[in-house]
């Protein structure tokens, strides 16, 4: 019996060693990467380069389909032309808007195996998560040496910085505060494109009376998208920015007015909003089933895919109350604190911020450059108008798309919004927003 238990014990020890060794690898590296094991074996000190003399850079993103993947390929081509000696490893993980990719990234970072550079929504989504976790490095020197401060909007920089340090390189810019409308419906009912929230309400009252669905709305996140544009439209850019810096009181009467505007807007929306994706909702406008829709300007790429013509099948304007303001979101790249190949990462970031890189990526993806000096002739009619606004407007950040609030704060706001859509109680909603700012934002 003794020998037997000894055997058993020995077996357990051996097996546990084997099992833990097997166990750690799959959690640390996604399956898509052929070089992952080689990388994991290398020490993560910044100066290390592969012994063969061949340099590498591993870039992590969720650009795996459609215009995004094509745009990334185009940008990789530019990179390979400029840095033929550096091997580019595309560590893209599939999944809409990066929810899968971010879970994979989080487990890699927790396992001490960061990619050299990764994609993230510019602003607090990156800063709140990765700066707080000491996972990424500031890039002020790169901005100085590459002259990016001169070619990117002045009001953009504070939104992608923390304590004066810039943390990411924005590659593309999308606009969140766009009101899409059906020109024919508006013309048939003699309605001008509204510029203030009150005009908008009046227009939608008229449409509702005429039996037209005034506003197309989709699932929960599109409601948050609507909320952020209404907050901006009601409060104006300065007070809106104050919401996120802690200067504007979430409990103030002005915020309450904004929330009541939002509640009123919901009454104009289609009844089946909870079952529609953003594509379904935007499509209602171009198909003539609804008059207005608030969605980011990626909707324009979708309209083109559907074979619709700008100004005929769809028109656009800033969301009422927000003209002169560009509510942006952006995909950007960071420099990992423990990057195995920091030189490669810097080279990649230089390409990502360059005119050539952004001109290669954006026309394909259907977004505009973060730089203001891109060649306009490469872009379509809508994007050209967006480029003009980007260069001249006040820039503020989007909530839904990660610019102004960290992940925790955003998820608390999302919960508050979901509960509000259920019960319609503005006072509870506002109280929950105040609590969210205290627990996860800058409010004290």
């Amino acid at each position: 019996m003794k020998r037997f238990s000894l055997t058993l014990l020995g077996l357990f020890v051996i097996l546990s060693v084997v099992l833990t060794a097997c166990g750690s690898t799959p959690t640390a590296t996604p399956a898509q990467q052929p070089v992952a094991t080689e990388e994991a074996a290398q020490p993560t000190s910044p100066a290390t380069q592969p012994s063969g003399g061949k340099q590498q850079v591993e870039v992590f993103s969720w650009w795996t389909g459609g215009g995004e993947a094509a745009g990334l390929e185009a940008m990789i081509k530019v990179f390979k032309a400029q840095y033929p000696d550096i091997e580019f490893i595309n560590a893209a993980v599939a999944g809409g808007a990066g929810t899968n990719a971010r879970a994979v990234l989080a487990s890699r970072l927790q396992a001490g195996d960061p990619p050299d550079s990764w994609q993230g929504h510019a602003g607090q989504e990156l800063i709140g998560t990765y700066v707080a976790g000491n996972q990424i490095l500031p890039l002020n020197d790169l901005y100085e040496s590459e002259g990016w401060l001169k070619v990117m909007p002045e009001t953009l920089i504070p939104l992608i910085s923390q304590d004066g340090k810039i943390y990411s390189v924005p590659v593309n810019i999308h606009r969140a505060n766009v009101l899409w409308y059906n020109p024919k419906i508006l013309k048939d009912h003699n309605i001008n494109v509204p510029t203030t929230i009150d005009e908008w309400f009046a227009a939608m009252d008229a449409l509702k009376a005429a039996g037209v669905t005034p506003l197309a709305l989709g699932e929960q996140w599109t409601k948050m998208h609507l909320l952020e544009t209404v907050l901006l439209g009601t409060l104006g850019p300065e007070a809106y920015n104050g919401l996120w810096s802690g200067k504007t009181d979430w409990g103030s009467p002005e915020v309450k007015v904004a929330l009541e505007n939002f509640a009123k807007l919901l009454t104009y929306a289609n009844s089946d909003s909870a079952s529609l994706s953003w594509q379904d909702a935007s499509q209602l406008v171009v198909n003539g089933d609804a008059a207005f829709n608030v969605m980011g300007d990626w909707a324009e790429g979708y309209f083109r895919e559907l074979g619709k013509t700008p100004q005929v099948d769809y028109g656009w304007a800033p969301v009422p109350g927000t003209s002169g303001t560009f509510q942006f979101l952006s995909d950007s790249f960071v420099l990992a604190a423990g990057a195995p190949h920091p030189d490669g990462a810097i080279a990649w970031l230089k390409v990502a911020g360059s005119k050539a890189g952004q001109e290669a990526f954006n026309p394909v993806k259907g977004s505009i450059c973060a730089r203001t000096d891109c060649d306009k002739s490469l872009f379509g009619e809508y994007l050209q108008s967006a480029m003009n606004d980007w260069a001249t407007n006040t820039v503020v950040g989007s909530l839904t798309h990660g610019v102004v609030a960290n992940d925790s704060w955003k998820s608390e706001i999302d919960t508050a919004l979901g509960l509000f859509v259920q019960d319609g109680n503005v006072n509870n909603f506002q109280a929950a927003l105040v609590a969210a700012c205290k627990s996860s934002g800058p409010c004290k």
Partner: protein
């Protein structure tokens, strides 16, 4: 065995040697067998130990911590995460939805499954065909079921009406048209319909096996005693099917507590159809509230355990009697 061996040894010394040899051989073989069996089982035992029980322990620890954000933070937080959950209006929605979903799904699947099994048990032609037909939905993943039912339960009105609602309007049954999963409060029951469609075939298979196991003599005896068909089912068949019902209850019940993918496929992450598993995923991986997410997982685990453990104890007891 050893006792008998010793008894033999006392009586006659000669066969003793043989006996001891035989015994040793047997013991050796038995030991070898045992070593081998332990050897074969130990990887899975170890894997279960590490990947289930150690991680449960770790999750309990995280649920008692203040961890929020990307970097682990194990600072002690006591039961705060749990206490907060019970005053969290979103968790209240989750509990409401879970109760509604479990009730509709379990009762619906058991009733429908039983009905199908009784019908199939009548000895109709092509029973095999129907059995596979009803069992097929179970072979489909919840995601696929969800996508199809999302389309069937389209709540759009007017010219965009489709799915069931359109069918009802063709059949002039317009009063049946409804908002399905977008109905306030009870929307989750519509999701349970899809789950019933998927799992009632499985319940049917359970009941059919149970029905087939009932000896024919019992029914005949009841018939001779003058029992009607209904009485036979009420007093003979149903009592004998109690263990089957219990199994079905446990299996369906724990599935419904853990439901996640079906809801995601039908409605995405939207609060009206929120359940604990979705809240856990969102708050942990989207909101980085690791402590809160761990607390939700542990509550989920406890709720499943409350259902499963008595069942396991009951089954083990019954088996050891046999």
């Amino acid at each position: 065995m050893i006792m008998r061996g010793e008894g033999t040894a006392n009586k006659s010394p000669h066969p003793l040697k043989n006996w001891i040899q035989v015994l040793n051989m047997r013991k050796l073989i038995k030991d070898k067998d045992r070593v081998l069996s332990v050897l074969l089982v130990s990887p899975s035992i170890l894997a279960v130990l590490i990947f289930i029980y150690v991680f449960i322990g770790w999750t309990v620890r995280v649920s008692l911590s203040k961890w929020k954000g990307l970097n682990p933070d194990y600072s002690w937080n006591g039961l705060t995460n749990y206490i907060n959950l019970f005053s969290d209006p979103r968790f209240a929605v989750d509990i409401r939805n879970t109760v509604i979903f479990t009730g509709v799904f379990v009762v619906g699947s058991i009733l429908l499954g039983f009905l199908l099994a009784v019908l199939l048990d009548q000895g109709l032609k092509g029973e095999g065909f129907f059995r596979s037909l009803f069992l097929f939905p179970m072979a489909i993943s919840y995601i696929v079921t969800g996508v199809v039912w999302r389309w069937l339960m389209n709540p759009a009105t007017g010219s965009r009406t489709s799915g069931f609602n359109l069918l009802f309007s063709y059949l002039h049954l317009d009063f049946l048209q409804n908002a399905w999963h977008t109905t306030p409060t009870w929307g989750i029951a519509a999701v349970a319909l899809a789950a019933i469609w998927q799992m009632s075939g499985y319940t049917m298979a359970l009941y059919l096996a149970g029905l087939r196991a009932i000896p024919h003599e019992l029914r005949e005896a009841a018939q001779i005693d003058g029992a009607s068909e209904v009485q036979i089912y009420r007093f003979v068949v149903l009592p004998l099917l109690t263990p089957i019902t219990l199994s079905a209850l446990i299996i369906l019940g724990h599935m419904s507590l853990k439901v996640f993918d079906l809801i995601i496929a039908i409605a995405g992450k939207q609060l009206p159809l929120d359940v604990p598993a979705i809240y856990m995923w969102q708050t942990t991986f989207d909101g980085l509230f690791y402590g809160r997410g761990a607390a939700i997982s542990i509550l989920l685990l406890i709720s499943v355990a409350v259902l499963i453990i008595p069942y396991i104890v009951y089954t083990l007891k019954n088996e050891s009697f046999k």
